[in-house]
Amino acid sequence: MSLGYLVSLLYQYADSIAFLLLAALGLMIILGVVNVINLAHGELIMMGAYITTLTYHRAHLPLPLCMALSTIGVGLFGMLLERFVIRRFYDDKLGALVATWGVSLILSQGTLLVFGPSLESVPLAAWTFSYGRYSFGGYRLLLFVIAIAIVLIAWWVFYHTRLGVRTRATMQNADMARALGVNTRDIYLLTFGVGSALAGLTGALYAPTTTIVPLMGNQFVDVAFITVVVGGGANPIVGALTSAALLSLIATPLSSTLGTFSGRIGLLIAALVVIRFLPRGISGYFQDIRYRRMARGVS
């Protein structure tokens, strides 16, 4: 195994982690805090890509600005969605699943009707670097860096801001948080907005590397679901990070040595196995351990 191969494997690993993280983080934060699975997540990603592409081509704005607009736009849309749809289903999680599926159908088909079957994609900064016989895309590494940066920012917000503390408190005991003066409705609204904004950002970031079609969300949702199921909702940040790292660790060598098909099947089977042994996902497992340790710490 040459050094070049190792570098290439590392690059693939980073690439895969970035994809899983960006696809799943928004979904996971919504699941963790609001406790709802948003089946329209893929369509929110699609919206992000569409806003980026359309503003770039029609308004001729610089690409980073387009991406920022997507993030904000989809975030706002997510808040509307929370206000008018999701809010009614806080007592009926399965109902939320079904209702968001309806939203997903409306968004994807509506996009087809309004914008047609495809859009011209936005151009990609073509900087590459190489090592040995391998060459790598700089943009993909940038995506990895951004993904990690988002996780760090999310972690910082969660653990080092008042809003983060309130959000975590709401996750742990919403009634108590309310009794202490936290407007949990606003927390839910905001969280849904942030989760949606992350979806929009994902769509915007991947817009230069994917085909811009109304059903493009599908390429993100299946891996996002797997990542979320494996990660669990107990702690979205830890869950997303560990789950993306673990799944990539399984899928990357498989894809790299046995081919993409094996990587794919490996990913799916890993999800089934993890759930068999950790029904609440990795972060749920960590939480259980922590509670056990707390119990032991005192008695």
């Binding site: 509670y291 707390m294 119990a295 710490g297 005192v298 008695s299």
Partner: protein, 245 residues
């Protein structure tokens, strides 16, 4: 009080050395408890003494950290809750848990016919239903029953499983004094029909009415046991209730 021994079949329940902790708080602490057949025992104690946790351990909702539970001489420590019910140990929850969307008849239909023979008429149950006046409310949706009727219905659900030992957790919570008295009378009559009953209750009027023997729980341990008179005259018990120990 006679000391029942396990071999002669007089003992229904024997729990020894039970411990259970939650998040740093030891709710039940090396507790031993023995119940004789046809006994009617009241379990009292100040808030947080571990009564509900003990019930959870007995019914199988919680697994003990240490200790074991024998029921009719058989070790049931590792049995699932439903297996314990089939062996004849049934619980009424603290907050009423009945199937609110279903009618009384449907509730009873679900409860009846698990481990016992379906063909035999459940005398105790029909007696209970008519005593409590639930037999005229068969088609009423359980969620629309009055609060006391919901409590009674839940006792009847437990009776429908034909238990040998009935655990009642606060059966009179939220009832008027008259309803409390009726419930107490009912429980005593039930007990007379050779049913072992363990009750957690705070309403002293109720305890006074029914109890043959009272066990006081404090900090997860048995503080003292005895007849109600003994307990009532026990200054130590009074002190723990008033938070003085």
């Amino acid at each position: 009080m006679p000391t029942p021994s396990e071999s002669d079949g007089v003992v229904v329940l024997h729990a020894e050395n039970l411990t259970k902790s939650f998040g740093g708080i030891r709710a039940v602490d090396h507790l031993n408890l023995t119940l004789a057949r046809s006994e009617l025992r009241c379990l009292i104690g100040p808030n947080g003494a571990g009564k509900s946790t003990l019930f959870g351990l007995l019914s199988g909702l919680h697994r003990p950290d240490t200790g074991r539970i024998l029921f009719k001489g058989e070790d049931i420590t590792n049995l699932q809750p439903f297996q314990r019910v089939r062996k004849g140990l049934c619980q009424k929850f603290q907050t009423t848990r009945i199937y609110r969307s279903l009618t009384v008849a449907q509730n009873l239909l679900i409860a009846g016919g698990t481990h016992t023979s379906n063909r035999k008429k459940n005398e105790k149950l029909s007696w209970a239903l008519s005593t409590l006046g639930l037999d005229s409310e068969h088609e009423v949706s359980a969620g629309k029953l009055s609060h006391s009727h919901q409590q009674w219905l839940e006792i009847c659900l437990a009776l429908a499983t034909e238990p040998d030992l009935l655990l009642l957790d606060e059966p009179t919570a939220g009832m008027t004094p008259e309803e409390t008295a009726l419930t107490a009378q009912f429980v005593v009559n039930l007990n007379r029909q050779a049913l072992t009953v363990l009750v957690v209750e705070h309403d002293m009027a109720f305890v006074r009415y029914i109890a043959q023997s009272v066990t006081v729980l404090h900090y997860g341990r048995i503080f003292t046991e005895g007849s109600l008179d003994e307990i009532e005259s026990n200054q130590e018990v009074r002190r723990i209730y008033l938070g003085e120990s």
